[in-house]
Amino acid sequence: MAESNVMVLGTWASPFVLRVKIALHLKSVNYENHEENLPESKSDLLLKSNPVYKKVPVLIHGHNPICESLIIVEYIDEVWTTSASSILPSDAYERAQSRFWAAYVEDKFSTALRRVLFGATEEDKRAAMAEVSEGIVLLEEAFVKLSKGKAFFGGEDIGFVDIVFGSLLEWIEVIEKLSEMKLISEAKTPGLVQWADCFSAHEAVKDVSPDVDKLVEYALKIGARVLKATAATN
């Protein structure tokens, strides 16, 4: 098991990098963490390993670079199969459902989150916030359906959707702190409230998640500004 030749190119604040680390921890894979100094500079290794996008995360396994966080997580699941936990479900239809919700979080939800923080205009931020609120309700419904009464989207243990969505929890908290608004609340999304607690406390998650206060500081430093709670966003 050549775990010593696993390297992660990433940054501490990136939720996409966090996905990779959670997956590796879940599978008890040892890896070397290489912190990139983004956006100031990109290492030669990063530029060589991800010439198309020049972005993190990159997983380097032996000599092979794997890019794009969702692809990396599936790769980790397919390579390290001896561990008890399987990240993707074994049933083909359930796998398709997991991939659907992971893609939804990635394509729609996380881009809306980013616009809440970094949107160019107030209008853009307000629209993004509305999308995030709608998205969370959809994800609550998805959680009820996929978890089938268990703690995680993946059932008894964390799975693909848990990792892809759960990696955004700290950034969701950043938005909640800055806007003084609750996005995941008992009133509207009780399932997700419980899920978020279980996810954050999970063995594979708690030691790698970034500190929210440090993230708030970092977000403000790189230009994040959110609208405070207004009547329009209720």
Binding site: H61, I66, V79, A92, Y93, R95, A96, R99, F100
Partner: protein, 219 residues
Amino acid sequence: MAGELVLLDFWPSPFGMRSRIALAEKGIPYEYREEDLRNKSDLLLQMNPVHKKIPVLIHNGKPVCESVIQVQYIDEVWHDKAPLIPSDPYQRAVARFWVDFIDKKIYELGSKIWKTKGEEQANAKKEFIECLKLLEGELGDKTYFGGESLGYVDVALVPFYSWFYAYEKCGDFSIEAECPKMIAWVKRCMQKESVAKSLPDQEKVYEFILQLKKVFGIE
């Protein structure tokens, strides 16, 4: 294993074409249902409430949405016939990367080519060709992206060929002149019945684009 299989689709959709090709490659019978996107069926809205988009693959009454998810699902359920996705995890990750790249770039850039003019169009054309060249590099000397047989990347990319004529007419450029290897690969793919029967005629697509331009009030 086949059960009841229905594909909700729209004839010019390159995303729908992916599923058509995958099903044809594996010789799986299914019912094709044409959607009118200006008047979406109750079935479509029920089966894809989140995005309300085609294609939707309905297998024994259960929907699978998103073309890349459908192709993977088809490959996994009917894994014994004409495998599309590599069995090696690293090769699989590489294939997924390029399919994701195609999804992020080709459709959007192509849309800009027929929707815009002037500098915006020129930039889109330039980036479009750069992306095709990157894909040519990935193809290398292989017959198909999948090697000796059609693979995941081939299925994801070749549908856009049906839009090339429309892009070329709207953008006033020749894709073959810029990317001859790409067109040579396309021609090899088009010799396969599964591909040829799944792609609409390029002139028909161009006419469709011209109609859309009228509707959107684009010159």
